[in-house]
């Protein structure tokens, strides 16, 4: 405690140098936190998934559909307590850049399997009555300024033509991790038109969603479902919802890996910035350390001063970095809202960012500290003369 004053004064001795070092650290910690948050955003879908849900898709690829007729067979498998289905719609709202996920879902069963989507009862009632009704997430509604009752036209890309809808409900998420940027339309509205225009595409769904009573039986049930359609024209692949979400992450595996490498490089940059400052500082003060040793200060005291200063600078830089992360996160999150519905700085990221700064503070001081304590007093004093 007695030496804190000396550490504090030494830190501000070269104000501009210290300020620039702290600024560099803060920007690096902010970059680290934003990159980590981006990585987390890739995994947000998997984190929000329920262990009680399985997803059945075509074994060849998600692009291929499955016959709706599979529903009855799947529902009979022991351990399944609920079943629904969904079809990717892929419509364009005004412009292709206005991307958002759209699913045609079974009005009777879908939302029962997703209790995390909170829909006002009256709005759900209207959705059940009107074929062209849609329910959208709060964030999606806010993004385009939609309200209940607004007519919306989409241009189909997967299912060609102009499609007219009316917004009849706006859902919110029960949890922070719940996606609030999705569009749900009725499957029967899509299927009826397919029957008229392209009958070969009618009665096809992209995926079945199963609710199971016991998550520990997921592997067993998945195997049984898939065995039902073995050697058929459309074999199935059943997996947990988490595994299904992670399969999307693995598609962008190289990007995620690249981001992870960059986040480590950023820590390396922090280390270099601070190590450079501490090396300059210790070199300039070799004579002062020699004087202090002459007065009776021991190596432990000199180490305390150098490590204390380095850790102090690193801590201030780390805290400033975390503080500026929040406004930057809002900017980046808004810009990437089409791709990442949830862009939230996790507490683990904050802890990692601060720990990394403190670790860097420690590492950056090692060589300057060793040099300071290893320099003989007489050599240190000679620098003055």
């Amino acid at each position: 405690m007695k030496f804190l004053k000396l550490i504090r004064r030494n830190t501000t001795r070269h104000f501009l140098r210290t300020f620039l070092t702290i600024l560099g650290l803060a920007i690096a910690v902010m970059a680290f936190a934003i990159i980590r948050t981006s990585i987390d955003a890739w995994y947000s879908g998997a984190r929000a998934s329920s262990p009680n849900r399985l997803v059945v898709t075509n074994k060849i690829s998600l692009v291929f559909s499955l016959p709706l007729a599979y529903k009855e067979k799947i529902a009979k498998v022991k351990g399944i307590t609920g079943i629904s289905y969904a079809q990717w719609f892929g419509g364009i709202y005004v412009d292709a850049k206005n991307f958002f996920p759209q699913f045609a879902v079974d009005k009777d069963t879908y939302f029962d399997l997703y209790p995390e989507f909170l829909i006002p009862p009256k709005q759900k009632e209207t959705f059940m009555k009107e074929r062209n009704a849609v329910i959208v997430g709060r964030k999606l509604a806010d993004r385009f300024g939609w309200s209940v009752g607004d007519p919306i036209r989409l241009t189909g890309s997967v299912f060609p033509g102009q499609w007219d809808f009316v917004i009849r409900g706006i859902y919110t998420g029960a949890k922070e991790t719940t996606d609030e940027a999705t569009w749900f339309m009725r499957y029967d509205y899509l299927d009826e038109r397919m029957k008229k225009e392209t009958p070969q595409r009618a009665g096809q769904v992209g995926s079945f969603i199963l609710r199971i009573a016991d998550p520990s039986k997921a592997a067993e049930i998945s195997k049984e479902v898939d065995s039902l359609f073995k050697n058929s024209l459309a074999e199935t692949k059943t997996q947990t919802e988490e595994a299904f979400q992670l399969s999307f992450v693995s598609m962008a595996g190289t990007i995620v890996k690249g981001l992870k490498i960059i986040s480590i490089l950023v820590i390396g940059i922090i280390l270099l910035v601070l190590a450079n400052t501490m090396a300059m500082t210790a070199r300039e003060r070799i004579s002062e350390y020699a004087v202090m040793k002459t007065l009776g200060f021991r190596s432990i005291h000199i180490l305390g001063l150098i490590f204390g200063e380095s850790i102090f600078i690193a801590a201030v830089g780390g805290i400033c970095g975390i503080i500026i992360t929040y406004p930057i996160k809002i900017l980046v999150g808004t810009a990437l809202s089409n791709f990442f519905p949830l862009f939230k700085v996790d507490i683990i990221t904050i802890i990692l960012g601060l720990s990394a700064s403190l670790l860097v503070g420690l590492l950056a001081a090692i060589f300057p500290a060793l040099k300071a304590i290893r320099t003989p007093i007489v050599d240190g004093l000679r620098i003055i003369e």
Binding site: E288, T294, L295, I377, V378, E385
Partner: protein
């Protein structure tokens, strides 16, 4: 007759530059009594500062023994030596060597941070030391706000604040004007006469050496009367 306070026995000191041995001191034998004021004189490169550093325990002899107040200091570890210096030695440098980020009070307080004294006790000691050197009114001044003479007086206050028995001064007036030089020498004389401090002062200035009771000369590493 006062007791022998500092004993140098058969001191030999050399430095190595690559593979070349450079001898600095040869067979130095010297006894310094308690409360003595000794001036070590000699030309540049004669080994005065090296001898002072050996007595201060900030350098070690290649051969021989340095005994201060009965303590063989050569055998002490670095940490023990540092602790010993903090309790027994007050060192005054030619260029003052004050910490630029600390004011006069804080500079003088620095050696006391190594003691168990509380804040109040430290304050009392610092104020006493600064009053002895006549700088009670400059406590809050930083080194760059003081003259050379004042800086050296702060350095002397720092050297005496722990009340050491032995004060070592390496060219304490070498960087000062005549008036400041006189003030510093009078101060050292006072520390010797009033406070019974044993003082060893390195100087090449005969006028400074006149203040000492005893003058020894070093030339090419050898000690002469």
């Amino acid at each position: 007759m006062s007791e022998v306070f500092v004993q140098l026995q058969s001191i030999y000191k050399s430095y190595w530059r690559d593979s070349l041995e450079i001898p600095v001191l040869y067979n130095i034998n010297l006894n310094i009594a308690e409360s003595e004021f000794l001036a070590l004189m000699g030309p540049s490169g004669s080994g005065k500062t090296t001898l002072l550093n050996l007595i201060a325990g900030i350098d070690r002899p290649s051969q021989g023994e340095v005994i201060v107040k009965g303590q063989h200091i050569n055998g002490l570890s670095e940490n023990a030596l540092a602790r010993w210096r903090s309790q027994n030695i007050g060192f005054i440098f030619q260029f003052y060597n004050l910490m630029p980020v600390l004011n006069a009070f804080e500079n003088v307080e620095l050696p006391l941070l190594l003691t168990r004294m509380n804040k109040k006790e430290r304050r009392q000691h610092v104020e006493t030391a600064l009053s002895i050197v006549g700088l009670s009114d400059r406590m809050k001044h930083y080194p760059n706000q003081l003259s050379g003479g004042q800086e050296q007086r702060v350095a002397i206050a720092r050297a005496i604040v722990t009340d050491p028995n032995l004060i070592l001064a390496d060219e304490p007036t070498g960087d000062l004007d005549k008036q400041s030089e006189e003030e510093i020498l009078n101060l050292l004389s006072r520390l010797n006469s009033e406070f019974n401090k044993t003082i060893i002062m390195v100087t090449h200035d005969p006028r400074a050496a006149e203040k000492a009771h005893l003058i020894r000369h070093l030339d090419k590493g050898e000690l002469y009367d």
